[in-house]
Symmetry: C2
Subunit: 210 residues, 2 copies
DNA sequence: TAGATTGTTAATCGATTAACAATC
DNA sequence: TAGATTGTTAATCGATTAACAATC
Protein backbone atom coordinates (compact mmCIF):
# COMPACT_ATOMS: atom_id res chain seq x y z
CA UNK A 1 0.00 0.00 0.00
CA UNK A 2 1.00 3.49 -0.80
CA UNK A 3 2.03 5.26 2.39
CA UNK A 4 3.57 8.50 1.44
CA UNK A 5 2.83 11.89 2.87
CA UNK A 6 0.64 13.03 0.02
CA UNK A 7 -1.52 9.98 0.20
CA UNK A 8 -2.09 10.37 3.93
CA UNK A 9 -2.76 14.08 3.53
CA UNK A 10 -5.43 13.34 0.96
CA UNK A 11 -7.08 10.88 3.32
CA UNK A 12 -7.07 13.49 6.06
CA UNK A 13 -8.67 15.97 3.69
CA UNK A 14 -11.32 13.48 2.67
CA UNK A 15 -12.18 12.88 6.28
CA UNK A 16 -12.36 16.57 6.97
CA UNK A 17 -14.71 17.18 4.07
CA UNK A 18 -16.86 14.22 4.99
CA UNK A 19 -17.20 15.39 8.57
CA UNK A 20 -18.47 18.71 7.28
CA UNK A 21 -20.95 16.99 4.97
CA UNK A 22 -22.19 14.87 7.83
CA UNK A 23 -22.89 17.98 9.85
CA UNK A 24 -25.08 19.16 6.99
CA UNK A 25 -27.09 15.97 7.21
CA UNK A 26 -25.72 14.46 4.03
CA UNK A 27 -25.63 10.68 3.94
CA UNK A 28 -23.76 9.73 0.80
CA UNK A 29 -21.11 11.30 -1.35
CA UNK A 30 -19.81 10.77 -4.90
CA UNK A 31 -16.14 10.55 -5.77
CA UNK A 32 -16.68 13.52 -8.02
CA UNK A 33 -17.87 15.83 -5.25
CA UNK A 34 -15.26 14.60 -2.86
CA UNK A 35 -12.57 15.26 -5.41
CA UNK A 36 -13.74 18.82 -5.96
CA UNK A 37 -13.92 19.58 -2.27
CA UNK A 38 -10.50 18.12 -1.62
CA UNK A 39 -8.75 19.65 -4.57
CA UNK A 40 -8.22 16.45 -6.48
CA UNK A 41 -10.00 14.32 -9.08
CA UNK A 42 -12.67 11.65 -8.91
CA UNK A 43 -10.20 9.14 -10.33
CA UNK A 44 -7.81 9.88 -7.54
CA UNK A 45 -10.49 9.50 -4.90
CA UNK A 46 -11.62 6.14 -6.22
CA UNK A 47 -8.05 4.98 -6.57
CA UNK A 48 -7.29 5.94 -2.98
CA UNK A 49 -10.41 4.24 -1.67
CA UNK A 50 -9.65 1.19 -3.71
CA UNK A 51 -6.29 0.93 -2.00
CA UNK A 52 -8.00 1.07 1.37
CA UNK A 53 -10.56 -1.48 0.21
CA UNK A 54 -13.33 0.99 0.74
CA UNK A 55 -16.23 0.15 -1.50
CA UNK A 56 -19.12 2.27 -2.67
CA UNK A 57 -22.31 1.55 -4.57
CA UNK A 58 -22.18 1.49 -8.31
CA UNK A 59 -24.75 4.18 -8.54
CA UNK A 60 -25.18 5.49 -5.04
CA UNK A 61 -21.71 6.77 -4.25
CA UNK A 62 -20.15 6.17 -0.86
CA UNK A 63 -21.97 6.03 2.44
CA UNK A 64 -20.59 8.70 4.70
CA UNK A 65 -20.76 6.80 7.97
CA UNK A 66 -19.07 3.87 6.34
CA UNK A 67 -16.37 6.14 5.00
CA UNK A 68 -15.72 7.74 8.35
CA UNK A 69 -15.44 4.36 9.99
CA UNK A 70 -12.98 3.09 7.41
CA UNK A 71 -10.92 6.25 7.37
CA UNK A 72 -10.75 6.27 11.14
CA UNK A 73 -9.50 2.72 11.18
CA UNK A 74 -6.67 3.73 8.86
CA UNK A 75 -5.89 7.17 10.21
CA UNK A 76 -6.71 6.52 13.83
CA UNK A 77 -9.55 8.19 15.66
CA UNK A 78 -9.41 11.92 15.37
CA UNK A 79 -8.96 12.46 19.07
CA UNK A 80 -7.00 15.30 20.53
CA UNK A 81 -3.35 15.32 19.72
CA UNK A 82 -1.21 16.53 22.57
CA UNK A 83 1.69 18.59 21.42
CA UNK A 84 4.32 20.88 22.92
CA UNK A 85 5.78 23.95 21.33
CA UNK A 86 9.28 25.29 21.67
CA UNK A 87 9.75 28.97 21.06
CA UNK A 88 6.90 31.16 22.23
CA UNK A 89 7.57 34.31 20.28
CA UNK A 90 5.11 35.49 17.70
CA UNK A 91 4.34 32.34 15.82
CA UNK A 92 4.58 30.22 18.93
CA UNK A 93 2.17 32.36 20.89
CA UNK A 94 -0.23 32.53 17.97
CA UNK A 95 -0.27 28.77 17.83
CA UNK A 96 -1.03 28.59 21.53
CA UNK A 97 -3.93 30.99 21.21
CA UNK A 98 -5.19 29.44 18.01
CA UNK A 99 -5.24 26.27 19.99
CA UNK A 100 -7.51 27.66 22.66
CA UNK A 101 -10.75 28.51 20.97
CA UNK A 102 -10.55 26.45 17.85
CA UNK A 103 -12.13 23.09 18.53
CA UNK A 104 -9.57 21.18 16.59
CA UNK A 105 -7.73 17.95 16.95
CA UNK A 106 -4.66 19.86 18.02
CA UNK A 107 -4.02 20.47 21.68
CA UNK A 108 -0.92 22.36 22.74
CA UNK A 109 -0.25 21.38 26.32
CA UNK A 110 2.88 23.36 27.10
CA UNK A 111 5.32 25.86 25.69
CA UNK A 112 9.03 26.32 26.29
CA UNK A 113 11.24 29.33 25.81
CA UNK A 114 14.55 30.80 26.86
CA UNK A 115 13.29 34.31 27.43
CA UNK A 116 12.50 35.03 31.06
CA UNK A 117 9.82 37.56 30.17
CA UNK A 118 7.79 35.01 28.22
CA UNK A 119 7.84 32.27 30.81
CA UNK A 120 4.61 31.84 32.72
CA UNK A 121 4.13 28.54 34.42
CA UNK A 122 0.64 29.40 35.67
CA UNK A 123 -0.99 30.22 32.33
CA UNK A 124 -3.73 28.03 30.89
CA UNK A 125 -1.05 26.73 28.58
CA UNK A 126 2.04 27.05 30.76
CA UNK A 127 5.29 28.30 29.29
CA UNK A 128 8.33 26.79 31.00
CA UNK A 129 12.02 27.54 30.72
CA UNK A 130 13.64 25.41 28.06
CA UNK A 131 15.62 23.46 30.65
CA UNK A 132 12.45 21.72 31.73
CA UNK A 133 11.61 20.43 28.27
CA UNK A 134 13.32 17.05 28.43
CA UNK A 135 11.67 16.07 31.70
CA UNK A 136 8.29 17.26 30.52
CA UNK A 137 8.44 15.22 27.33
CA UNK A 138 9.40 12.12 29.25
CA UNK A 139 6.86 12.55 32.01
CA UNK A 140 3.96 13.20 29.68
CA UNK A 141 5.07 10.85 26.91
CA UNK A 142 4.84 13.62 24.33
CA UNK A 143 5.40 12.32 20.82
CA UNK A 144 5.02 15.41 18.65
CA UNK A 145 6.42 18.91 19.03
CA UNK A 146 6.42 22.20 17.21
CA UNK A 147 9.61 24.15 16.61
CA UNK A 148 9.09 27.90 16.41
CA UNK A 149 12.55 29.12 17.31
CA UNK A 150 14.97 31.15 15.17
CA UNK A 151 16.74 29.11 12.53
CA UNK A 152 20.05 29.22 14.36
CA UNK A 153 18.58 27.23 17.25
CA UNK A 154 16.32 24.85 15.34
CA UNK A 155 18.63 21.90 14.80
CA UNK A 156 19.85 21.86 18.37
CA UNK A 157 16.30 21.95 19.74
CA UNK A 158 15.29 19.21 17.37
CA UNK A 159 18.03 16.93 18.57
CA UNK A 160 17.14 17.56 22.19
CA UNK A 161 13.49 16.82 21.49
CA UNK A 162 14.28 13.54 19.81
CA UNK A 163 16.62 12.55 22.60
CA UNK A 164 13.79 13.04 25.04
CA UNK A 165 11.46 10.85 23.04
CA UNK A 166 9.71 13.00 20.47
CA UNK A 167 9.12 11.31 17.14
CA UNK A 168 7.42 13.97 15.03
CA UNK A 169 8.21 17.65 14.55
CA UNK A 170 6.46 20.49 12.83
CA UNK A 171 9.18 22.93 11.90
CA UNK A 172 8.49 26.62 11.37
CA UNK A 173 12.16 27.60 11.25
CA UNK A 174 13.56 28.53 7.90
CA UNK A 175 16.25 25.85 7.80
CA UNK A 176 16.25 22.36 6.50
CA UNK A 177 16.63 19.99 9.43
CA UNK A 178 18.04 16.60 8.62
CA UNK A 179 15.68 13.89 9.83
CA UNK A 180 17.06 11.56 12.44
CA UNK A 181 16.18 7.94 11.68
CA UNK A 182 12.81 6.96 13.00
CA UNK A 183 11.53 10.51 13.30
CA UNK A 184 9.43 12.67 11.00
CA UNK A 185 9.65 16.35 10.19
CA UNK A 186 7.09 18.46 8.39
CA UNK A 187 8.24 21.93 7.55
CA UNK A 188 6.06 25.00 7.17
CA UNK A 189 7.99 27.79 5.53
CA UNK A 190 5.74 30.79 5.22
CA UNK A 191 8.23 33.11 3.61
CA UNK A 192 9.08 30.50 1.03
CA UNK A 193 5.40 30.14 0.19
CA UNK A 194 5.06 33.89 -0.27
CA UNK A 195 8.16 34.14 -2.43
CA UNK A 196 6.88 31.21 -4.43
CA UNK A 197 3.61 33.03 -5.09
CA UNK A 198 5.41 36.15 -6.18
CA UNK A 199 7.44 34.16 -8.64
CA UNK A 200 4.38 32.83 -10.43
CA UNK A 201 2.53 36.12 -10.26
CA UNK A 202 5.50 37.94 -11.75
CA UNK A 203 6.09 35.39 -14.48
CA UNK A 204 2.49 35.67 -15.52
CA UNK A 205 2.58 39.42 -15.48
CA UNK A 206 5.53 39.41 -17.85
CA UNK A 207 3.70 37.03 -20.15
CA UNK A 208 0.67 39.26 -20.25
CA UNK A 209 2.71 42.29 -21.16
CA UNK A 210 4.03 40.57 -24.24
CA UNK B 1 11.89 24.49 -18.82
CA UNK B 2 10.38 22.93 -15.78
CA UNK B 3 8.27 25.49 -13.95
CA UNK B 4 6.37 23.73 -11.28
CA UNK B 5 6.06 24.76 -7.68
CA UNK B 6 8.56 22.28 -6.36
CA UNK B 7 11.21 23.38 -8.79
CA UNK B 8 10.76 27.04 -7.86
CA UNK B 9 10.75 26.21 -4.17
CA UNK B 10 14.04 24.40 -4.56
CA UNK B 11 15.56 27.39 -6.29
CA UNK B 12 14.38 29.63 -3.46
CA UNK B 13 15.93 27.28 -0.94
CA UNK B 14 19.20 27.24 -2.82
CA UNK B 15 19.29 31.00 -2.82
CA UNK B 16 18.53 31.12 0.85
CA UNK B 17 21.33 28.70 1.70
CA UNK B 18 23.76 30.50 -0.56
CA UNK B 19 22.99 33.85 1.04
CA UNK B 20 23.83 32.35 4.41
CA UNK B 21 27.06 30.91 3.07
CA UNK B 22 28.02 34.25 1.63
CA UNK B 23 27.57 35.86 5.03
CA UNK B 24 30.08 33.38 6.38
CA UNK B 25 32.60 34.49 3.80
CA UNK B 26 32.37 31.38 1.67
CA UNK B 27 33.09 31.85 -2.02
CA UNK B 28 32.25 28.58 -3.70
CA UNK B 29 29.92 25.69 -3.03
CA UNK B 30 29.63 22.09 -4.22
CA UNK B 31 26.40 20.53 -5.41
CA UNK B 32 26.83 17.99 -2.66
CA UNK B 33 26.83 20.56 0.15
CA UNK B 34 24.03 22.53 -1.39
CA UNK B 35 21.95 19.40 -1.65
CA UNK B 36 22.45 18.58 1.99
CA UNK B 37 21.59 22.05 3.16
CA UNK B 38 18.48 22.19 1.01
CA UNK B 39 17.22 18.72 1.77
CA UNK B 40 17.84 17.29 -1.66
CA UNK B 41 20.59 15.48 -3.58
CA UNK B 42 23.62 16.61 -5.50
CA UNK B 43 22.12 15.14 -8.66
CA UNK B 44 19.03 17.23 -8.22
CA UNK B 45 21.05 20.37 -7.67
CA UNK B 46 23.13 19.85 -10.79
CA UNK B 47 20.05 18.98 -12.79
CA UNK B 48 18.30 22.13 -11.65
CA UNK B 49 21.31 24.30 -12.40
CA UNK B 50 21.69 22.64 -15.75
CA UNK B 51 18.15 23.67 -16.63
CA UNK B 52 18.95 27.25 -15.73
CA UNK B 53 22.17 27.02 -17.70
CA UNK B 54 24.17 27.72 -14.60
CA UNK B 55 27.63 26.30 -14.97
CA UNK B 56 30.22 25.45 -12.38
CA UNK B 57 33.81 24.37 -12.51
CA UNK B 58 34.62 20.74 -13.00
CA UNK B 59 36.55 20.63 -9.82
CA UNK B 60 35.85 23.88 -8.07
CA UNK B 61 32.09 23.74 -7.59
CA UNK B 62 29.94 26.79 -8.17
CA UNK B 63 30.92 30.38 -7.54
CA UNK B 64 28.51 31.86 -5.02
CA UNK B 65 28.31 35.34 -6.48
CA UNK B 66 27.69 33.89 -9.89
CA UNK B 67 24.96 31.67 -8.47
CA UNK B 68 23.21 34.55 -6.72
CA UNK B 69 23.28 36.58 -9.89
CA UNK B 70 21.81 33.78 -11.96
CA UNK B 71 19.19 32.83 -9.39
CA UNK B 72 18.15 36.44 -9.01
CA UNK B 73 17.68 36.77 -12.73
CA UNK B 74 15.33 33.80 -12.68
CA UNK B 75 13.56 34.40 -9.39
CA UNK B 76 13.63 38.15 -9.46
CA UNK B 77 15.54 40.27 -6.99
CA UNK B 78 14.72 39.37 -3.44
CA UNK B 79 13.31 42.77 -2.65
CA UNK B 80 10.52 43.35 -0.22
CA UNK B 81 7.23 41.78 -1.15
CA UNK B 82 4.26 43.92 -0.18
CA UNK B 83 1.36 41.87 1.02
CA UNK B 84 -1.96 42.43 2.76
CA UNK B 85 -3.60 40.10 5.23
CA UNK B 86 -7.29 39.51 5.74
CA UNK B 87 -8.33 38.23 9.12
CA UNK B 88 -6.35 39.61 12.01
CA UNK B 89 -7.21 37.10 14.69
CA UNK B 90 -4.50 34.92 16.14
CA UNK B 91 -2.67 33.76 13.07
CA UNK B 92 -3.19 37.05 11.32
CA UNK B 93 -1.82 39.08 14.17
CA UNK B 94 1.10 36.72 14.55
CA UNK B 95 1.96 37.21 10.92
CA UNK B 96 1.85 40.96 11.32
CA UNK B 97 4.18 40.86 14.30
CA UNK B 98 6.45 38.29 12.74
CA UNK B 99 6.70 40.71 9.91
CA UNK B 100 7.93 43.51 12.10
CA UNK B 101 11.21 42.38 13.52
CA UNK B 102 12.21 39.66 11.13
CA UNK B 103 14.21 41.21 8.34
CA UNK B 104 12.65 39.13 5.67
CA UNK B 105 11.49 39.60 2.15
CA UNK B 106 7.92 39.70 3.39
CA UNK B 107 6.32 43.02 4.22
CA UNK B 108 2.74 43.10 5.41
CA UNK B 109 1.48 46.59 4.69
CA UNK B 110 -2.10 46.37 5.94
CA UNK B 111 -4.60 44.11 7.65
CA UNK B 112 -8.36 43.84 7.27
CA UNK B 113 -10.96 42.46 9.62
CA UNK B 114 -14.65 42.54 10.36
CA UNK B 115 -14.29 42.80 14.11
CA UNK B 116 -14.55 46.38 15.38
CA UNK B 117 -12.33 45.65 18.36
CA UNK B 118 -9.43 44.59 16.18
CA UNK B 119 -9.53 47.50 13.79
CA UNK B 120 -6.82 50.08 14.33
CA UNK B 121 -6.06 52.37 11.44
CA UNK B 122 -3.24 54.13 13.20
CA UNK B 123 -1.08 51.15 14.06
CA UNK B 124 2.32 50.66 12.44
CA UNK B 125 0.60 48.08 10.28
CA UNK B 126 -2.93 49.51 10.09
CA UNK B 127 -5.92 47.22 10.39
CA UNK B 128 -8.91 48.47 8.39
CA UNK B 129 -12.50 47.33 8.21
CA UNK B 130 -12.97 44.74 5.50
CA UNK B 131 -15.05 47.14 3.39
CA UNK B 132 -11.93 49.10 2.60
CA UNK B 133 -10.08 46.13 1.18
CA UNK B 134 -11.01 46.47 -2.48
CA UNK B 135 -10.02 50.11 -2.69
CA UNK B 136 -6.78 49.50 -0.85
CA UNK B 137 -5.77 46.70 -3.20
CA UNK B 138 -6.46 48.85 -6.23
CA UNK B 139 -4.80 51.98 -4.91
CA UNK B 140 -1.63 50.24 -3.85
CA UNK B 141 -1.55 47.66 -6.67
CA UNK B 142 -1.30 44.81 -4.21
CA UNK B 143 -0.71 41.51 -5.97
CA UNK B 144 -0.47 39.00 -3.14
CA UNK B 145 -2.61 38.53 -0.05
CA UNK B 146 -2.86 36.26 2.94
CA UNK B 147 -6.17 34.72 4.01
CA UNK B 148 -6.40 34.04 7.73
CA UNK B 149 -10.14 34.01 8.20
CA UNK B 150 -12.36 31.13 9.35
CA UNK B 151 -13.01 28.52 6.68
CA UNK B 152 -16.59 29.58 6.19
CA UNK B 153 -15.47 32.99 4.94
CA UNK B 154 -12.39 31.99 2.96
CA UNK B 155 -13.84 31.45 -0.49
CA UNK B 156 -15.83 34.66 -0.46
CA UNK B 157 -12.82 36.69 0.63
CA UNK B 158 -10.72 35.04 -2.03
CA UNK B 159 -13.15 36.00 -4.76
CA UNK B 160 -13.27 39.59 -3.56
CA UNK B 161 -9.51 39.76 -3.47
CA UNK B 162 -9.18 38.48 -7.00
CA UNK B 163 -11.84 40.85 -8.23
CA UNK B 164 -9.84 43.72 -6.80
CA UNK B 165 -6.70 42.62 -8.59
CA UNK B 166 -4.88 40.18 -6.37
CA UNK B 167 -3.17 37.34 -8.21
CA UNK B 168 -1.62 35.22 -5.48
CA UNK B 169 -3.01 34.06 -2.18
CA UNK B 170 -1.52 32.29 0.81
CA UNK B 171 -4.40 30.46 2.43
CA UNK B 172 -4.37 29.51 6.10
CA UNK B 173 -8.02 28.48 6.17
CA UNK B 174 -8.76 24.80 6.39
CA UNK B 175 -10.72 24.56 3.16
CA UNK B 176 -9.70 23.86 -0.36
CA UNK B 177 -10.25 26.97 -2.43
CA UNK B 178 -10.69 26.41 -6.12
CA UNK B 179 -8.20 28.51 -8.05
CA UNK B 180 -9.64 31.10 -10.36
CA UNK B 181 -7.88 31.12 -13.72
CA UNK B 182 -4.81 33.29 -13.74
CA UNK B 183 -4.39 33.25 -9.98
CA UNK B 184 -2.32 31.15 -7.64
CA UNK B 185 -3.07 29.74 -4.22
CA UNK B 186 -0.65 28.19 -1.77
CA UNK B 187 -2.26 26.59 1.22
CA UNK B 188 -0.73 26.20 4.66
CA UNK B 189 -2.77 23.80 6.74
CA UNK B 190 -1.17 23.48 10.12
CA UNK B 191 -3.64 21.04 11.62
CA UNK B 192 -3.29 18.78 8.63
CA UNK B 193 0.47 18.79 9.07
CA UNK B 194 0.14 17.85 12.70
CA UNK B 195 -2.34 15.07 11.98
CA UNK B 196 -0.07 13.87 9.24
CA UNK B 197 2.83 13.62 11.71
CA UNK B 198 0.73 11.70 14.19
CA UNK B 199 -0.20 9.22 11.51
CA UNK B 200 3.39 8.33 10.76
CA UNK B 201 4.44 8.36 14.39
CA UNK B 202 1.60 6.01 15.29
CA UNK B 203 2.21 3.65 12.41
CA UNK B 204 5.82 3.36 13.40
CA UNK B 205 4.96 2.78 17.01
CA UNK B 206 2.72 -0.11 16.07
CA UNK B 207 5.47 -1.57 13.95
CA UNK B 208 7.92 -1.42 16.81
CA UNK B 209 5.57 -3.20 19.15
CA UNK B 210 5.37 -6.19 16.87
C1' DT C 1 -34.57 0.30 -19.24
C1' DA C 2 -31.48 4.20 -19.49
C1' DG C 3 -28.36 6.67 -17.09
C1' DA C 4 -24.92 7.26 -13.75
C1' DT C 5 -21.22 5.95 -11.01
C1' DT C 6 -17.97 2.72 -9.31
C1' DG C 7 -13.72 -0.11 -9.52
C1' DT C 8 -9.81 -1.38 -11.98
C1' DT C 9 -6.64 -1.66 -15.60
C1' DA C 10 -3.50 0.25 -18.72
C1' DA C 11 -1.29 4.45 -20.50
C1' DT C 12 0.84 8.53 -19.56
C1' DC C 13 3.59 11.63 -17.60
C1' DG C 14 7.20 13.73 -15.35
C1' DA C 15 10.19 13.96 -11.68
C1' DT C 16 14.02 11.82 -9.48
C1' DT C 17 18.01 8.96 -9.42
C1' DA C 18 21.98 6.68 -11.02
C1' DA C 19 25.82 6.44 -13.63
C1' DC C 20 29.72 7.88 -15.86
C1' DA C 21 32.41 10.38 -19.35
C1' DA C 22 34.48 14.77 -19.47
C1' DT C 23 37.65 17.71 -17.43
C1' DC C 24 39.68 20.84 -14.15
C1' DT D 1 49.21 12.79 -12.46
C1' DA D 2 45.54 11.38 -9.45
C1' DG D 3 41.49 12.70 -7.53
C1' DA D 4 37.32 15.13 -7.36
C1' DT D 5 33.41 17.22 -9.21
C1' DT D 6 30.60 18.73 -12.91
C1' DG D 7 27.19 18.08 -16.68
C1' DT D 8 24.33 15.12 -19.13
C1' DT D 9 22.25 11.03 -20.54
C1' DA D 10 19.59 7.09 -19.80
C1' DA D 11 17.04 4.27 -16.45
C1' DT D 12 13.94 4.08 -12.93
C1' DC D 13 10.24 4.92 -10.37
C1' DG D 14 5.82 5.98 -8.94
C1' DA D 15 2.08 8.90 -9.00
C1' DT D 16 -1.61 10.58 -11.70
C1' DT D 17 -4.83 10.28 -15.39
C1' DA D 18 -7.76 8.28 -18.71
C1' DA D 19 -10.75 4.99 -20.11
C1' DC D 20 -14.21 1.79 -19.87
C1' DA D 21 -16.47 -2.54 -18.49
C1' DA D 22 -19.32 -3.77 -14.72
C1' DT D 23 -23.41 -2.90 -12.41
C1' DC D 24 -26.79 -0.66 -9.53
Amino acid sequence: MNTNKEFVSRLLKYRNVIMNLKKLGIVKVFSDNLGDASGTTSSQVRKDFSQLEITGNKRGGYNIDHLIEKLNSVLGENTSHKVIIVGCGNIGRAMIEFNGYHNSSLEIVAGFDTSQSIINEDAAVPVYPIEKMTDYIKEHSIKVGIIAVPESAATEIYEKMVEAGIKGVLNFARVHIREIDGTFINTVNIELQIENLFYFVNVQEKKNKK
